[in-house]
Amino acid sequence: MTGEMRAQRAGGAGGDGGAGRHDGARGHGGAGAVELARRAADDILGALAALSAGTPGPAPGSAGAGSAGAGEAIAGRGLVVDSPPGAGKSTLVARAALRLAGAGEPVMVVAQTNEQVDDLAVRLASLSPQLPVGRLSAADYVQTERVARHPRVTVGRQPADLSGCQVIVATAAKWASLTGDAAWPWAIIDEAYQMRSDMLLRIAGRFGRALFVGDPGQLDPFTVVRTERWTGLPWDPQVSAVAVLLAHNPGLPVRQLPVSWRLPASAAPVVSEAFYPFSGFMAGTGPGERSLSFQAAGFGAGPADEAIELAARDGWALYEMPARHAPRTDGEAVAACARLAERLLARGAIAVSELAPGGRPVTGDRIAIGTAHRDQARAVRQALRDLAAAPAGGAAGPLAAELGRVTVDTANRLQGREFDVTIVLHPLSGRVDADEFHLESGRLCVLASRHRHACVVVARAGIPELLDAHPSREPVHIDVPARFPDGWEAHHSVMAHLAARTVRAW
C-alpha cells in the first residue's frame, strides 16, 4: 500500500523509488558529471534494449544511476525519462530512435510542434547518415531549408510514402490524423509532459511500446474549457500524457537525466531546488568553466550596467525597480528589458565555455527576453525597435542589427530553447496580487532555465510581500496528486536567491 501511495503522490516525479534520483548530485561537476550522465543514458538505452528484446537483461553500468527499474521495465510497456532543462533530451531521443531502429524495430517519433519535428529529423539524419528518416507532414507544410539539406530525410503525407524509413517523425497532431491502422512496435514521445492525455489517447493505438521523454518542470498542458467533470479520473483528458500513463501503469519505471549541460554551475542548484525538489540535478560544468566578460567598460555605469556585470560575475541579477502597481505592459519595466539587452550588446559581451574555449561574442541571437504575456513580448519588441532606431551610444548600424536579432517571447514559446543570456520580465512584477496563472511554477521555471551563462530578472520591488499576502485557497481534489513544486513556494525560493543579487534601478 505504501508503495502505491507514494507512486500516486509523486505523480510524474519518479514513481520507481531510487532509480534516477541523485540526491547527492546537486551541485556541479566536470568529469563526474560526464560519467554520471553517460551512465544514466546507457542505463536508459539498456533498459530500452531489454524491453525490445523482451528478455530480462542487466542494464550495463547502471549501478550509480540505480537499476531498480530495469527488472520492472521488462514487465512494462515503456519507460518515462524526466529531463531537467538542457539535460540532453533531444540527443537521448535521437540515440534511442537509432538504437531501436538499428535493432530492426521501426519507430514512430512524436513531437509537439513542426519546429521540433524538423529539429529531430535533422538531428537523426546527422547522427546516422545511412539511416533513412521519414518526416510526415500535413498538406500545408513548407519544407524548411535544414530539412531539405538532408538527402536522407524524406517528406511524405502518409506512412505509405515513407515505406523505406525505419524512423518516422511527425507532430502528435499529424499522427492523430492518420487513417488506416498502420502501427509501430515502438514510439518515442518527446515533450510528453506538454502533450495532453487526450492526444495520447488518439495515437496510443499505433504503438506497442513507448519511451516518454519530457521535462516535468515546464508548463502543463492547457484547455480553455473550465470543468471539473473529469477531475480525479485517472484518464482525465485535461492533464498531461505522462500523468495519465503513470496513473494506469504505476509500475512503469521513471528515470532521470541527472546533468544539465545548459545551465551553468550558478543556476543548476537554484533551478533544481526550486523546481525539481524531489529529483535534483547537477550542472555539467564547474564554477570556473564558463565566464562572461565585456570588451567595453561601462562608462558612468548606471544600474543596467551594474546588473549585467553582476549577472556576468554571479550568473544572476535582479534588476529591481520601485514598487508600484502597473498594467501588464509596464512601460518602465519593458524599457528596462530592452535597455539591458542593449547594454549587453553595446558592451560586447564575450562568453567563454566548453563549447567556445576561446570565447564567443554574445550576439543578438544568443540573447532572449522572456515574458509571461504576448502583449508584454510585443511591447518589448517595440521597445527594441525604438532603441534600434535611436540607440543611446550612437553606434547605430551593427548594434541596431543585433538588437533586431534578440528573441523576445512568452514562456510558452521559449520552452525547449537555449540562449547565452536571458532577461526575464518577472511574471509578478507590478501586480496587485498573484493568481494561478502568474504563480504557475512551470512558467517561472521555463523563464529561469533558458540560459547558459547568466539571467537578469527585471521586476518591481515587493514580490516577496506579494507572495506573503497571497491567500491560499486553491481547491483540493480527491485522487488528484498534489502538484509539486508548488508555484508559490518555487517563487519564494527563487526570490530568496535573488535577494542578495539585487541591483536597484533607483
Partner: protein, 375 residues
Amino acid sequence: MNAVEARLDRLRGSAAPRAHNARTISALASNPGCARRAVMDAAGVDKQRVAAHVGHPAPFGQSQFAITRGNAFEAQVKAGGCAQLLRLLRERLRLPIPEVSYANLDDVAGDTSNKVRHARTRALLARAAASGQDAGTLFDHPLLRLRAGGRAVYLEPDLIAFQLRGRFHVVEIKSFAVIDGQADGGKVAAAVIQSAVYVLALRDLLAELGTGPEAVSDEVVLVCPKDFSNEPTAALLDVRKQLTVLRRQLARLDRIEDLLAQIPQAVTFDLEPDAAGVPRRDRRALELAIGAVPARYTPECLETCEMCRFCREEAAGSTAALGRATRDDLGGIDDIGTVLELARGSVPPADHQAEAAAAIRAAARMRGEILGATG
C-alpha cells in the same frame, strides 16, 4: 514577548480571548495580507461581536440541520471504538492495522481543563512514540497546542490520530459527501488545511519529546459520506503544500510586533460591556478603532471573515470592491472616481498612471462609440 501580549490584551479589552482552533489557524492563510484580521485574530478578538456592534454583522450562520448531520455522521463513524473507521482504514485504504485499542482524550477522569487534557495527551503520545512500532491505538480528541502569534494556543480537538509502523496519521471526519469519487474542492481544501494544522501541532508535541517530524505522516485520512448514503468512505490527502503555507504564515504571525508598532497606542476593540454583558462602547469610537488598522478587503472575504461587511462598506468606491480581476484590469488604480475621471480625460493622469489611463481611455472611447455618448 510580554509587551506584545499586554498590547494584544489591551486591544481585545475586557473580553476573554477567543479560543483558537484548526479553523482559525487555517484562516491565517485565507487573507494573510490583511493586517486588520491578523491583529484581531492575534488578540483573540471576537470579530463577530465587534462587527455586529458597528452594525455590520457577518452573514454567517449554520443551519441546525447541518450541525445535526455532522455530529450524527461523526458519532456513527466513531461508534463502537471507531469500528467503521477501522474497517475503512483496513478495507478501503488497505492499511495493515492490527488489533487496536481506543483512547478517548475528551476528559481525564472528569477533568476537562485544557491543561490536564493536554498533559494526558502528551503522556499517552509519548508512550506510544517510545514504544516504537505499533502501539495500535486510536487517539480520539487529543488536545494539542500550537505556537501562534507568540503564544501557545490550545486547539479544539477535532481529530483522531493513529499510529501505524511507527508513524502517526491524522484522521479528519467531515460530513460533506464524496459522490462518484468527487467532492467539493473548496470543502476538501478547508479540511486539508485544518488537518495540516493538526499535523503541525502533533509534530510540535513530538519534537518536544525529542521525536523528529517524520513521525507524523504528511498524508492525512479524510472520511466522508459516500454518494447519497450515510456509509463512510475515505481518501488519503497530501498536506505537504499546506504545511509549507502554514509554517510561513505562523512565522509571519510571530512578527506581529511590526504590525502593532503601526497602530496608535490608544486603539482598543473593547466593547465595554455593562454588568449584564451588553456592549456599551460608543459605536463611532469603535469604528475609528477598527479603521486605525488597515484592512485588505477583497470580495472573497465575504465568505471567510466576520469583519467582511464592515470592510466592504469601508472599501466602497474602491476598485478592490469590484473584485480582483477588475482591479487588475484597471491597471491597479485604486479609486473608482479616478478611473472614471481618467476615462473622461477630465484630469491628466499622473506619471505612474499614464499607461493604465491610456487603456481606460481607449476602452471608454469604444464604449462611447458603440453605446452612444450616454454609455
